[in-house]
């Protein structure tokens, strides 16, 4: 049967997802292999070296760098409290005495007789690494982190902003075409992950922030609303560290685009369940897409067929697909033909194409590069 290797986003009711949780610097792992963990469990911990402060002691005392050590009251490695004397001069007349005090509580890192500077370091900060998903520890990487597996419903978005969070899913849209209105968001949604339909606008985004939702999942949004949400024009799609008050996941793209009905129906069925979501998106090699992970009970066992969402086999005739470029952008259809020869399109480029029939019965020929399979069916 004809196939085309077309990327797609996974939308599946049950699959096995593994997440590597790694510290940015070496630390300690706090869980054992085989242990069940919930999303808020700290699985590993590291101590981030404290912030460094520079004090130019020679300038402040009016001395030469090579003489600095003679004037220091504190030595390298010694602890120091904020306001404590770091260095002082030794005048013959007491009135001319001047001192340099520490601006922070921490320790003396280095005393440089080349530059005359003293570097102070704040105490280390604790960095807790959360499990992020409810699951089981299947591998411990000593000093670095763990791998956690979970049987779950899994939905990949196309783009997101904001980091990892978790909460209860609340479906507020009645159809995939319905935009999320500000008025639909109430105080009941505080701490929840709200599922809208086709679109979220500036007003609803403001309201989501005011209400205190943890996450928003919608089909699309306008670029201008993203700009005002972030406060800048996003140039490169590397996200996940934005501090906008909540995590936002788009399932379809930019513009007003109905959520794929399969995604909508799955999320509808998961209404009220606990989910872990992340807006982190990275579109260069080693693609990271935003995700919604809804753990399923261990009693809901999975079979191999359920894992199909993770294997990208390519498009086949009959596959549901979404067109991802103008002039049919956002339309969902079914593959009816996969001609193997290159075809000239209106730009005069010769490309591989597929023929698609849309829900209204109309047909279109689209470059294979402009289509994505709705995976996990």
């Amino acid at each position: 049967m004809a196939h085309s290797y077309t990327p797609g986003l996974t939308v599946t009711p049950r699959t096995l997802v593994a997440r590597k949780r790694l510290l940015p610097i070496p630390g300690v792992v706090l869980v054992q292999e085989g242990e069940s963990v919930s999303s808020d469990k700290v699985v590993a911990r590291a101590e981030l070296p404290g912030k460094v402060h520079v004090v130019n002691v020679v300038n402040l005392l009016g001395i030469l760098p090579e003489d600095l050590k003679e004037f220091m009251v504190k030595r390298e490695g010694e602890r120091v409290e904020q306001g404590q004397v770091l260095a002082e001069n030794k005048p013959l007349i007491k009135w001319f005495k001047s001192t340099v005090v520490s601006p922070i509580t921490g320790s003396v890192e280095t005393i440089s007789n080349s530059t005359g500077q003293v570097l102070l370091r704040e105490p280390p900060r604790r960095l807790d690494l959360f499990s992020y998903v409810d699951g089981r520890v299947v591998e411990v990487i000593p000093g670095q982190g763990v791998r956690i597996e979970t049987t779950c419903a899994f939905v990949q978005g196309i783009f997101g902003v904001g980091g990892e969070t978790w909460g209860t899913l609340v479906m507020v849209a009645t159809s995939p075409e319905q935009p999320l209105e500000a008025g639909q968001l109430t105080s009941e949604h505080a701490g929840k992950i709200v599922i809208g339909g086709a679109f979220v606008g500036a007003e609803a985004l403001q309201r989501a922030k005011a209400v205190g939702v943890k996450g928003l999942v919608v089909g699309g949004m306008h670029d201008k609303d993203l700009r005002s949400l972030l406060g800048y024009d996003l140039g490169v799609a590397i996200t996940g560290t934005e501090n906008i008050g909540f995590t936002l996941v788009l399932t379809e793209g930019f513009g007003q685009i109905p959520m794929a009905s399969k995604t909508f129906e799955l999320l509808h069925a998961l209404n009220g369940r606990k989910a872990s979501i992340s807006g982190a998106t990275q579109i260069r090699a080693g693609v990271i897409r935003p995700e919604i992970i809804v753990p399923r009970g261990s009693e809901e066992s999975i079979n191999t067929a359920d894992l199909s969402g993770q294997v990208r086999a390519g498009a086949k005739i009959g596959d549901p697909v979404r067109v991802i470029r103008e002039p049919f952008f956002g339309r969902i259809g079914e593959v009816v033909a996969l001609p193997s020869d290159l075809l000239m399109i209106p730009t005069e480029s010769h490309v591989r194409v597929m023929e698609i029939v849309f829900a209204d019965g109309t047909k279109a020929v689209v470059p294979r590069a402009n289509v994505e399979i709705i995976e996990g069916s």
Partner: protein, 601 residues
């Protein structure tokens, strides 16, 4: 260098997304590129072994060529192994930019002096420079330290101070680096490589400060005096450390290094090398550009001085949205002969960013993409001009003639009037449906002056040829001339402004099809037929206030090279100003497109 005798060569470039393999064979007395194959790069999960993608790309060549190159997942050498003329290759070579290329932080003392020299040194080595730190960069000490800590580069280059000068400032920078305790991007278990190429009197102090915290390498000062840059030793160290530390951390690379018959080079370093080789061999000034999905690399060789810059966030897919953010929507839309709703266009560009592999299906979409490419090319050249300069801070000798025209040190080396050749590369230029589209994109973006030849890279094999030139320069040059470069033609663009329809210049050209002559008016573009491997003598007599290279009103008589597009006469004036009124601009764009037969109608 003596060339190694080779008959069959297989070369790969392990890019961020695709590994591209080419086969080069000696056909008769000449080297030719005969087959190519490609496969997804496999540095990331689930494969996490770069050699998998290399083997896949080479097996595609095996299928197409019928030559047996692999056995037991190893490359068979030499060519003709076991008496089978269709088996084996003489050498395997490779470049790599997988995993985001080589990313470095560089530091100097004075930003415009050692800071810039260090940046030029790293860029020339094929590096993506993440940040340039300097004592006078305007950041407070703790901000510098935080920045170093958060960057996680593959390597750091520390320079500063001229030999025999003060060491205080470079030691200060070393102290900041030490305090930041920088960690490498890949792997947790090894120390970050750091190259010290600063004041030689500072070496002992640097060893004390950084010797234990980093994998320290000391090399010659890259700016030994204010008047001299010495970038080669530090560049060589960057390449050595790239192989020893950075590549060795990437999955599968140890095996790849074993296979390769020459050191693996960072992709842009190899491209730079081939461009430099061509410019030197032909004695020309050259600008090369490689516009990719994420970045745009610009190379230049003027008066034998090589420079490279990379605009890390100017590209046609991953970074397309940043091109819009940097250039502004108006600048993009000035190249498009229609108007479009701003919100719609912004959404389209963001959708391309999040789905970077899509292709324009309609003519309108193609025109928008090519308009964005013009802006990316323009911005990247602007960036290049600011770094490809003479040394700043150099004492200038003045004479009486300088009284009215004093130029400071550090002027850009890019002189468009002395430019002989532009080489374009990257999908949007190499794969434009009509070659004339590539030519006009480059002419619009670069605004060449006088006579300038233009060409494109056919299938992006410059990296392969760059690394090949290190083992067999003749093979690299032959393949470059015959199979890599496609000459588009020559652009003749006079400097000056005039009213639409006013006389700009008179021309006569001894074309192979017969002599032609005519008058080019301001606001006109004209294309004369001068094909591939053809040349013609052209006489151009500009109007009184117009200059084609010999001075205002002075005639120029010289040879012009043809190409797949031809001889383009550009009477649109320099600098190129498009009418601000939408109707006027659209009318002119349509006229030019029609004259050049730029798009299907």
């Amino acid at each position: 260098m003596t060339d190694r005798p080779l008959r069959t060569i297989v070369a790969t470039d392990c890019g961020s997304t695709t590994t591209k393999a080419i086969l080069i064979e000696k056909v008769g007395n000449e080297y030719r590129q005969t087959y190519r194959g490609e496969a997804p790069t496999t540095v990331e999960a689930p494969f996490e072994d770069v050699t998998r993608g290399v083997l896949n790309a080479i097996s595609e060549i095996e299928e197409l060529s019928g030559r047996r190159i692999l056995e037991d997942e190893k490359i068979l050498t030499p060519s003709g192994i076991g008496g089978d003329p269709k088996a084996g290759v003489d050498i395997y070579i490779s470049t790599s930019s997988a995993g985001g290329g080589l990313q470095m932080m560089v530091a100097g003392v004075v930003q415009s002096m050692t800071g810039e020299s260090a940046q030029r040194c790293a860029l020339g080595a094929g590096v993506i420079v993440m940040d340039v730190l300097a004592s006078n960069d305007g950041r407070l000490p703790h901000e510098k330290i935080e920045r170093i800590r958060s960057l996680r580069p593959d390597m750091i280059l520390l320079s500063g101070g001229t030999d025999g000068g003060t060491v205080t400032h470079v030691v200060e920078m070393a102290e900041y680096i030490s305090a930041a305790e920088p960690r490498p991007r890949l792997g947790m278990s090894y120390n970050l490589p750091l190259i010290y190429a600063g004041n030689k009197d500072g070496r002992e102090r640097i060893k004390e400060i950084l010797g234990k915290k980093t994998a320290l390498t000391i090399t010659e000062n890259l700016r030994p005096t204010m008047e001299r840059e010495n970038l080669v030793p530090a560049r060589t160290k960057i390449h050595d450390l790239f192989l020893e530390h950075v590549m060795a951390q990437a999955p599968g690379y140890r095996r790849l290094i074993e296979w390769a018959g020459a050191p693996i080079m960072p992709t842009p370093a190899a491209v730079g090398l081939i461009m430099e080789t061509i410019a030197k061999k032909q004695g020309i000034n050259l600008i090369g550009v490689d516009i990719g999905g994420a970045t745009t690399d610009v190379f230049s060789i003027f008066q034998g001085i090589f420079n490279r810059t990379v605009s890390a966030n100017l590209g046609m897919s991953y970074s397309i949205s940043n091109v819009m953010a940097e250039s502004g929507l108006e600048n993009i839309m000035r190249w498009v002969p229609f108007s479009i709703d701003e919100q719609d266009l912004r959404n389209r560009i963001k959708n391309k960013m999040i789905r970077p592999t899509t292709v324009p299906q309609t003519l309108e979409e193609l025109m928008i993409e090519q308009a964005i490419a013009r802006e990316a090319l323009r911005l990247a050249l602007g960036h290049h001009k600011t770094l490809a300069t003479g040394l700043k801070g150099v004492q200038q000798e003045r004479s009486i003639s300088d009284v009215f025209d004093q130029k400071g040190s550090g002027q850009t080396l890019i002189n468009m009037l002395q430019l002989d050749l532009i080489v374009g590369s990257g999908g949007i230029l190499s794969h434009a449906p009509r070659r004339v589209q590539s030519m006009l994109m480059m002419v619009d973006a670069y605004e060449p002056l006088g006579f300038t030849e233009l060409s494109v890279d056919s299938i992006f094999m410059m990296p392969h040829l760059g690394v090949l030139s290190t083992v067999n320069e003749q093979a690299a040059m032959e393949v470059f001339v015959h199979d890599c470069m496609i000459y588009l033609g020559t652009c003749i663009a006079p400097i000056g402004q005039g009213k639409q329809g006013e006389r700009c210049l008179e021309y006569t050209a001894a074309l192979p099809g017969g002599p032609v002559q005519g008058t080019l008016k301001f606001g006109e573009l004209r294309l004369l037929p001068l094909g591939l491997n053809e040349e013609a003598m052209v006489q151009v007599t500009p109007a009184r206030n117009v200059d084609v290279g010999a001075g205002r009103g002075e005639a120029v008589h010289r040879r012009a090279r043809g190409g797949v597009v031809g001889l383009m006469l550009d009477g649109r004036g320099r600098p190129l100003n498009l009418p601000s009124r939408l109707e006027d601009r659209v009318g002119l764009l349509k006229k030019w497109h029609e004259t050049l037969n730029l798009y299907p109608t």
